[in-house]
Amino acid sequence: MSEQVEHLISKEYAAGFHTAIESETLPPGLNEDVVRFISAKKDEPEWMLDWRLQAFRAWQEMESPDWAKVKYPPVDFQSISYYSAPKSMDERPQSLDEVDPELLATYEKLGIPLHEQAVLAGVAMDVVFDSVSVVTTFREKLLEAGVIFCSISEAIEKYPELIKKYLGSVVPQKDNYFAALNSAVFSDGSFVFIPKGVRCPMELSTYFRINEQNTGQFERTLIVAEEGSHVSYLEGCTAPMRDENQLHAAVVELVACDNAEIKYSTVQNWYPGDAEGKGGIYNFVTKRGVCHESAKISWTQVETGSAITWKYPSCILRGDNSVGEFYSVALTNNLQQADTGTKMIHIGKNTRSTIIAKGISAGRSDSSYRGLVRMNPGADGARNFTQCDSLLIGDRCGAHTFPYIESKNPSAVIEHEATTSKVSDDQMFLCAQRGLDPEKAVSMIVNGFCREVFKELPMEFAVEAGKLLEVSLEGSVG
């Protein structure tokens, strides 16, 4: 089949696109052939192609959502290229000297070691660097425990039954506009499978998945934790990530079987654009997890990057006694816009959810919390606690809270607390009077404001997140 498709595609594109095919990059545009091309490039089985095509056909019938409090010019999906092969060594910067000095300055501030800077900046390296050996030992250890951690492409090939069973089981292809687009054209991503009763021996981090290139734009992640298992997953890194693709639409699906626990931590630091908001990434993400009986899913996110963030990591609390948590810090500066929050859908009895959302707005940015808490008729004794705090820095930014509460069960209890505050002149004066310069003072006050969320992050991530806020807030006082 794939040969046929290959043939078909080369024929189709022969007229206009032959050079592009040679360089393994598709010209801009999206149609069924593009979907077929991507699938063929990855040697995918037919069922996978069908799955993608279903998604694509659904997407064509859908419309881009317009309810979020973000403004951006309409995205021309026909002007985007949906496949490009990893850059060859020759095309990549040959050393750190060729990398944007501004980017390096930021790495420096974050205290990132030189060899990691090279990896992050995509420098071509023939020499095997330290972390490769780390990765090897890492993989061996996981294998011993029976944990599968690989790219989603590899999983489609090696574990088709698991993929067939779980891919799209939490976020169906037609779930929403961006999820449908992702389902049709996803480039790559991660697959994690923790077998029954296993406690994953280490924190899994996308950082270790270094063999993959170009997974960023339409990333697809699937994590399955079987009965009684436990895993902590870290996504992203604090270093600013540049990407030539402006539009990002990722999908993350989590499945927590009975008594399983998944902790998913994200630090999102995509390029936010310059001070005028030019060139920043649009980040439209669908993240959702389903909890079976007595299972727990905990989302922790620190969002500082992207020009536009549209993201609502959610929990479907299907099983009785299951627990959902959402801890979030969203910081916007300059002209950034963030509309982020969560959905907690209580279906099972005695389900519990906690939402702690901290929004920080500086510059001329706009930050919104949008959250849904729904208690279904069967959710006897369900409880939710929500706390949304907004902190404003300066007088040209905005903070908004849109809580949606739907309760169809009289025994359910929902609590919602919200505050909005400013970094006060008195606090700034106290800090200055104790010798702190204004930027240090603001970052300290902001870090204090975020403390409840940071303490949910794995230790080293928490420290980095603090530094990251400091760097992201640069120039917000003055």
Partner: protein
Amino acid sequence: MLRINNLHASVEDKEILKGLSLEIKPGEVHAIMGPNGAGKSTLGNVLSGRDGYEVSSGTVEFKGANLFDLAVEERAREGVFLAFQYPVEIPGVSNMEFLKVSVDTVRKHKGLPALSSVEFMKLARTTSQKVKLDQAFLKRGVNEGFSGGEKKRNEILQMMLLEPSLCILDETDSGLDIDALQTVADGVNAMRNKDRSFIVVTHYQRLLDYIVPDYVHVLADGKIVKSGDKSLAKELEAKGYGWLEGGVA
């Protein structure tokens, strides 16, 4: 140390200080007393550089340089310390962290080596014992949920750690019980030496029983209307301020 000459300052276009002059030499303790609204707190705020206080004329020399050339944080690093009348809370920022950053910054400015975390924690613990502040307060947010007395002890703790050269205590005694007052005074007395100067702003003579000043000044209507030694404070306690204002203003 400090030479204030004919200082005029206003808040929201209202003139509060109207030609204040004062000279403080190293090692001296000056008490500033006076009726409500005389400008006592304004003096501390102007010297430390708080926003909203406009200096219209006059000069202030600090260690021989023009104080007004320095930003708030630069004055602090040079050794101007203001113990606040109403210390503000900074939720979520641990007191220990705040103190460490502050001490690091000031030590760096003075060219002193940075203290390691362990050294600093030791220092902070022993110093907090001196001001009778339980160590638990080092872990809590800055002033977060502290009582009035605990906040003031925390101010003295900061002062002791930063070792400033000019300490301005803005009604530090207000709202303190006798024990806390004694502790605050002990802290100040322990810090007195030939190089360090103090401005103690207070309403009450009581504090001056514990911190014995070299000079007492009466500030009324934006000016110093009378200066004397510690006996002046006793006299004020007995007679009030009325007799002075009438005669001078």
